[in-house]
């Protein structure tokens, strides 16, 4: 389980890898909140494409970040959730709080993190934090 955090052009992208349960949520929450509090973006995009399992702890994680982003004055987008995660998200009614997008590219600002290899192009270097839990 790990997380990659990138903030650029007023948008924070949180890419979560591995299982999202009560155990891993504690670590993910503290990493995301530290980034949001320091950078105060107007948008948080959580990329779920690398999430291999999620229970209601993931719902708690999204709801908590939604509240924090409301305080900061921004929105939350849930990007690329696999079908088994969509099922939990729908059950919880998270689609009423956060926009769900099947595409990551469409919800990121133009030229987001353009110096990163996966977003090839010219532009200002974004701030990247890569963290992995000690397991």
């Amino acid at each position: 389980m790990g997380i990659v955090l990138k903030t650029d052009r007023g948008c924070t992208l949180a890419q979560i890898k591995g299982d999202l349960d009560h155990h891993s949520a504690k670590f993910l929450r503290s990493e995301i909140d530290r980034e949001l509090t320091a950078k105060r973006p107007s948008r948080l995009v959580i990329d779920f494409s690398g999430v291999t399992f999620m229970d209601s702890s993931g719902i708690g994680l999204i709801m908590g970040r939604y509240k924090l982003m409301q305080d900061i004055g921004g929105d939350v987008i849930v990007a690329s959730p696999p079908s088994y995660i969509k099922k939990v998200i729908r059950l919880a009614g998270i689609d009423r709080l956060a926009r769900i997008s099947d595409s990551l590219k469409n919800v990121l600002p133009k030229d987001f993190g353009s110096t990163f290899s996966e977003y090839a192009g010219e532009g200002e270097k974004a701030d990247e934090t890569v963290k992995a839990a000690d397991k």
Binding site: H22, H23, F53, S56, S57, L61, M63, A92
Partner: protein, 151 residues
Amino acid sequence: MKRSKQLINEMKLTFPSLSENERFARIAVSGFLSQLDPCVDELSDIKTAVSEGVTNAIVHGYRGRIGNVLLQVKIFEGGYISIKIQDKGCGIENIEKAREPLFTTAPEDDRAGLGFSIMESFMENVKVRSQKDKGTTVILERRVRSRKQLL
């Protein structure tokens, strides 16, 4: 009178209420049920329900102290399964209230209060027995439509 279904296989394991064991519990159940060759969607639903039950035992049953969690899985004829998750923790004072969607005793910990809702949605039957200061037993039941039978 309805004939009780024949037990085909069962497993039982006990582990301390450490959050690291939430993943272990899911994988153990998933591994045991693989003999039924379930569909990916079914296995995913069962793993999610087990994760909710085990997390409840760890977070709400023992509330930070370490105790044992019992996990028992039974496979009956016809692909019926029963999963028991038991703790000897503080118990639930009001089971009806605990089963309400969005009810949680730990909102500060970002608990969504959806554990029982998910268990009820992803399993066919959820039984809860609890006694204050004695512990809680949750029994999850459903039928697995084995891919072996579909062939």
